[in-house]
């Protein structure tokens, strides 16, 4: 202390003290506390508030993709659990665990550890069953989500990239499923691997080499289980998570599509903000999906490998079916005729195996992935689309979609042909022949029927807009005839039925232009015009205001004619149901049982 400083009292010492800030509460505490600390270092306040305010439209069909996302999370959680006990080894051991029927039987370590998870690890069986059920749910929800996106036209610009990513994700998901259920090395999955080895052998020229490289030698070998394990827990999950992240980022960038409706335009998103509504709804939905999957795992046994026993290449059982998502490939294998195997110059070309097992799946997925580009070429539409289309308003697309689904379904049914034969007491040969014919006949038929149904629904919409709802109110006119009053649709309800565009087929520009110069249309143009006319030649147009006015006008005129001059004095304005008398007795043909019969009316009831 310097000698010339003046001593101060305690009060003097405290004079310069900054008063302690009052304890902050609520929002202030958040800004100053941990969140502030993070923002100081990362600057995440702006993106955070942007994302929390983000608006999502509400519709049940938007939950399908969420189910896929949440079941992926469930798979990652339960899958990690399973790796702690599963031993990915084909090494042979003798079982001596607590499941008595298998005691003393030689089996691979993979199978033994799976049985141990099921019987000796506490809560192991529930984790295994959640994992398998979630895998089925994952593939189902991806598929149904894909249907939703397809049938509502959500794949149109700017979302084509995301459609392609989704298609790849779907393909990866079913292969992830296949590698997963092959791991326990039980009799059923081993038979699946046996068949897979046969598929690979059928590849022209390279088949036997590819099979020996993949299996590390002769089938089954000891290499395939550890290799599948790495593919199942590392390679495919990494690809799936990477592509899924891109998928969800693109959803955020594009902002979610919405169904058409009043106030919903191509330039806005109408819905609820993420914070708090979707945080609660989506977050809650995760727990609902997890909860229901867990209940299924608790109450419904899935893949009881202890009943199948360990894999033995000389044993097989009737009723060998893969998990559902591989069914279509197995069905294709059953339907593809055997005469497509040839011997050419001493080499064997086994198309009866090669095409259904290794060509059909990539081909179907390639067509699906290419569809947005095909359709945009046909329509020539380069605009962004954020309003979804109702499936009925795109009859050709909906028809094509149902056609593809019917093709897929027949293959899927074919995978269970032996079970159908046993349960229904039918001949397997007849079932296979029938399915082979159906595979060719049903898809075009499904296309045609679906398109017709869509067009009927469109006409029904037009009818509803033009003539309104039946009100149930019967009015008797002065002339004694009866009508049911039709109430016009409220404006908000009507908008959903009239807002859509009606595409017309592309026209080839005239061969000779205004100056008489001949112009040749290219083959490509002619093809495009033809496909466009296939899509849109029989488009049904949305009701226009002019049509609605004409319909009302027409109704009034008929009503005026049919009820006689007394009913509507000029200038009287007429009763309030004028112009709403549609679908009533007088509009029916005379042969109709409900047609009006004025002469039969009771004269006593006349006013």
């Amino acid at each position: 202390m310097s000698p010339n400083s003046t001593p101060k009292g305690a009060a003097g010492l405290r004079a310069d003290d900054v008063p302690l800030p009052e304890r902050q509460k609520g929002a202030k505490a958040l800004a100053g506390g941990l969140a502030g600390w993070v923002d100081d270092r990362t600057g995440t306040a702006r993106p955070t508030s942007y994302l929390l305010k983000k608006v999502f439209p509400d519709h049940w069909s938007f939950m399908l993709g969420e189910i896929a996302m949440f079941s992926l999370v469930i798979l990652l959680i339960t899958g990690t659990f399973l790796t702690f006990w599963f031993v990915p080894s084909a090494g042979q051991v003798i079982y001596n665990g607590s499941y008595v029927p298998l005691k003393g039987i030689p089996m691979s370590e993979a199978f033994k550890s799976t049985v141990d998870i099921s019987f000796d690890v506490r809560g192991g069986l529930i984790m295994r069953q959640i994992h398998h059920w979630a895998a089925l749910l994952f593939t189902v929800s991806i598929t149904v989500h894909m249907f939703r996106v397809f049938f509502t036209g959500a794949f149109r610009k700017p979302r084509e990239i995301n459609w392609v990513i989704g298609t790849i994700l779907s393909l990866l998901a079913i292969n992830e499923g296949f590698t997963g259920y092959s791991l326990p090395d039980d009799l059923l999955s081993g038979t699946g691997l046996r068949a897979a080895e046969g598929f690979i052998q059928s590849v022209p020229v390279l088949g036997s080499y590819m099979a020996y490289f993949l299996f590390g030698g002769a089938f089954p070998g000891e290499a395939i289980i550890p290799r599948l394990f790495t593919v199942h827990v590392l390679l495919l999950p990494a690809l799936i998570i990477g592509l899924f992240t891109a998928h969800i980022v693109l959803v955020a960038v594009h902002k979610h599509t919405q169904y058409p409706g009043p106030g919903k335009t191509n330039d806005n998103v109408v819905g609820y903000p993420f914070m708090p509504v979707y945080l609660a709804k989506s977050g809650g939905f995760f727990f609902i999906v997890f909860g229901i999957t867990t209940l299924m795992a608790a109450l419904v046994t899935i893949n009881p490998i202890w009943m199948y026993g360990p894999y033995d290449p000389t044993a097989g059982t009737a009723g060998s079916q893969p998990d559902w998502y591989m069914g279509f490939a197995d069905g294709a294998l059953r339907l593809f005729p055997g005469f497509t195997e040839f011997t050419v110059f001493g080499f064997t070309l086994s198309l009866n195996v090669f095409i259904p097992s290794l060509i059909v799946m990539p081909l179907l997925y390639s067509i699906a992935g290419a569809y947005p580009f095909i359709e945009s070429w046909v329509t020539g539409d380069k605009r962004e689309h954020h309003l979804l289309e109702r499936p009925r308003n795109a009859p050709t697309r909906t028809g094509l979609g149902v056609m593809a689904i019917s093709f897929y379904l027949i293959l899927f049914i074919a995978a269970g042909d032996d079970l159908i034969a046993i349960k229904l007491g039918l001949s397997i040969n007849q079932i296979v022949r029938t399915l082979q014919v159906m595979l060719i006949v049903v898809p075009p038929l499904a296309y045609w029927v679906t398109k017709r149904i869509c067009m009927s629904l469109q006409r029904r919409d037009r009818d509803l807009v033009l003539h309104g709802h039946e009100s149930g109110r019967i009015v008797r006119t002065a002339g004694g005839s009866f009508f049911e009053v039709h109430e016009p649709l409220p404006e908000h309800q009507r908008w959903s039925l009239v807002q859509h565009e009606t595409p017309t087929p592309l026209q080839l520009t005239p061969r000779v232009d205004a100056n008489g110069v001949e112009r040749k249309s290219t083959r490509r143009e002619r093809l495009r015009a033809k496909v466009s006319s296939f899509y849109f030649a029989d488009s049904i147009q949305a009701v226009t205001p002019a049509e609605l006015t004409a319909a009302h006008h027409d109704g009034s005129a008929r009503e005026a004619i049919e009820t006689g001059p007394d009913a509507r004095e000029p200038g009287s304005g007429g009763p309030d149901w004028v112009g709403q008398l549609h679908g009533g007795a007088d509009e029916r043909p005379e042969t109709d049982a409900y047609a009006s019969h004025d002469e039969g009316a009771d004269p006593a009831s006349a006013p």
Binding site: Y50, K53, V55, S98, R122, L125, I126, R194, A195, E197, F199, Q201, V205, G207, S208, Y209, Y212, G216, G217, G221, A223, V253, P262, G263, T265, Y272, V277, A280, G284, F287, I288, G291, T294, L295, A298, L299, P313, T314, G316, A318, L333, F336, G338, T340, F347, S350, V353, G380, R383, H386, D417, I428, V432, V498, Q499, Q541, V543, T544, P545, A546
Partner: protein, 373 residues
């Protein structure tokens, strides 16, 4: 600038909509391509617009919890009850985990005999998860705001400036690197980048597995090997084989081989005794012993074991894809996706009367591959 006629300005705009505010239909789609995709019939005339106009968002209908504090409190209690059930279920799980014996089974109506531990753990975990979800969703639907919020969209396309700026940056960077001016670098770089992945591919494919060589064409069977019952591994006396019987057969000594499963996957055989006169192919009769014939059990389609035998019709059927082979006609394909008949194993009897292989398989067994035949 873009296909969109209107360029919304400003950043993200969030606003609670005024119900009923008119919004023009298909905002921003006025500039349409020449295809007239949206042409509609019925020209507007006499003041009637060509298309209906968007009436705007319908008026908001308040929920009972918005109007009635009692209803809101009821909803609050329901949400809290769901969360409480979840906590109880979690406790049940924890107790069950330690109390229930792993090996105890119980009869559950509709399910049958089931692992008690699995059911109690699963149901309690499921209920605990489900109730959190149901509570959160119920909370969101009853108490959180349900007024529609509108957010503007912007076209994905960047502005022209941003685009040309990006192109300029790339072009300028490229020329600054002098890549175009120095072809030596360009071509050597292309060569190096084109080749570097090849060692990785070669290492992988070269080391994954051995070459098949003749492995797929040979089985464990050798001339003179006894036919053994699978799985007992006991030899079969020809005189013991009754007409109509069916045996699963493996070659003698296969259980002592180095790669049992791999050998079994190729060598498995079925032995069938057909009634006299049933065999229609002389070669089949010659390769058998008094109507007893042996065929490969490995399906010529994709390799499943052909284990289903119908005694009455003498048909062998594969359980995987239902290929059906007619044993009376040298196992040719009667039906199904397979193409080739099952290869026959030529058998005879040894001095003690046991069935033995007269020769190994003379053609590859199992699924087809390119270089077979």
């Amino acid at each position: 600038m873009s296909e969109h006629g209107t360029q919304p300005t400003g950043d993200q705009v969030n606003q609670v909509n005024q119900p009923g505010a008119p919004v023009s239909p298909h905002q921003g789609l006025e500039h349409r391509p020449a295809q007239q995709l949206d042409e509609v019939s019925g020209d507007g005339s006499g003041g009637i617009p060509e298309r209906f106009s968007d009436p705007g968002l319908p008026p908001h209908v308040p929920r009972s919890a918005d109007l009635d504090e009692l209803a809101a409190r009821r909803a609050e209690r329901q949400v809290a009850a769901l969360f409480s059930v979840s906590m109880v279920a979690t406790v049940v799980f924890l107790v069950a985990y330690f109390v229930i014996d792993q090996g105890s089974y119980t009869f559950i109506p509709g399910i049958g005999l089931a692992s008690l531990s699995n059911i109690v753990l699963g149901v309690s975990l499921g209920v605990s998860l489900l109730c959190i979800g149901l509570g959160a969703v119920h909370w969101a639907k009853t108490l959180m705001p349900d007024t529609d919020v509108t957010e503007e969209r912007h076209p994905q396309r960047s502005s022209d400036e941003a685009r040309s700026d990006a192109v300029e940056t790339i072009v300028a960077g490229g020329s600054a690197s002098q890549l175009g001016r120095r072809p030596l670098i360009k071509y050597t770089l292309a060569g190096a980048l084109g080749l570097f992945a090849i060692p990785l591919l070669v290492q992988l494919t070269g080391s994954l597995g051995p070459l098949p060589r003749a492995d797929l064409s040979n089985t464990f069977w050798r001339k003179g090997m006894r036919l053994m019952r699978d799985p007992e591994m006991t030899p079969i006396k020809a005189s013991d084989v009754t007409v109509g019987s069916f045996y699963h057969v493996l070659p003698e000594g296969i259980d002592k081989s180095e790669h049992v499963l791999e050998e079994k996957a190729k060598a498995a055989v079925v032995l069938i005794s057909l009634p006299p006169g049933a065999i229609q192919v002389p070669k089949e009769r010659d390769w058998g012993v008094d109507g007893i014939v042996a065929y490969s059990k490995i399906c010529t389609h994709v390799g499943c074991p052909v284990g289903l035998y119908e005694h009455r019709t003498h048909l062998l059927m594969c359980p995987c894809h239902q290929s059906t082979f007619d044993v009376t006609r040298d196992a040719e394909v009667l039906f199904g996706p397979a193409h080739r008949p099952l290869p026959q194993l030529k058998i005879t009897v040894d001095a003690q009367g046991y069935l033995i292989a007269a020769a190994p398989f003379l053609q590859p067994v199992g699924p087809s591959f390119w270089e077979r035949a």
